[in-house]
Symmetry: C2
Subunit: 127 residues, 2 copies
Amino acid sequence: MRSYATEQRSLLSDYLSSRPDVYLTAMEVANALEPKGVSRSSVYRNLLALEGQGQIVRSAGPKGETLYRFCGERCSDHIHLQCERCGRLVHLDEEETRAVAAIVSTRDGFELDATRTVIYGICEDCR
Amino acid sequence: MRSYATEQRSLLSDYLSSRPDVYLTAMEVANALEPKGVSRSSVYRNLLALEGQGQIVRSAGPKGETLYRFCGERCSDHIHLQCERCGRLVHLDEEETRAVAAIVSTRDGFELDATRTVIYGICEDCR
DNA sequence: CTAGTTGCAAAGAGTTTGCATGGCG
DNA sequence: CGCCATGCAAACTCTTTGCAACTAG
């Protein structure tokens, strides 16, 4: 099953990649693209597809809202921190990520999934 | 505003505390307690209340489902690991948690929120 | 008594799906 | 052309809310 390069897909990709490091709800994306002629269902269908391809990461906010974040290739190899107050996202570097991985591996040989893990806290500016 | 000790609340607390370290959806809880005579709305209302009191932690699964987990007092001082495959929950000890906190604090003075943070990965048994 | 709590049913929010139309290749 | 993708609207799921009846203190 091949896949077609449609106008809507390209608009969606453009929008997401223009907002890296920001967690967006499907609704925000849909509202942003609706004026450009992308239907709600296409947004949902394509967000799912992009998630399957690993181009965006699906996660969830403290209240359970589903959130999507554009994910450059290079984001799969490190953990992210997120400030619970301002939402700022910080990318740990590979060395820091390895250090965390080392800690968790001492427990049941736990193998860290950096893609899915987000460490929450409060950044200095928000304190 | 004081609070009444009702039959429904006690059933809910009993049920939750009998299942520590397990993430439950509100629906699972509601289905389990419905036969005992607790209505769905009471389950939702009391889960919210318990979350406010810090007795349970609300989080979200990979697909965005809202999950609740009973949280003994002692769980607020350390991070949890969760296996993405079997769902097993591992409690890091305070020393390990401090080590992670130290790593993230080098970034923007980021102050770890151990209550909300869950590190995902795959446990040894599941590999 | 009297304020907090419950159950029900209806309303809401967010997401998914069926189907006919349209567009990429 | 053939197949995939789109748009629309209806269907769905999960959660919240209004209101009258109920109950703990």
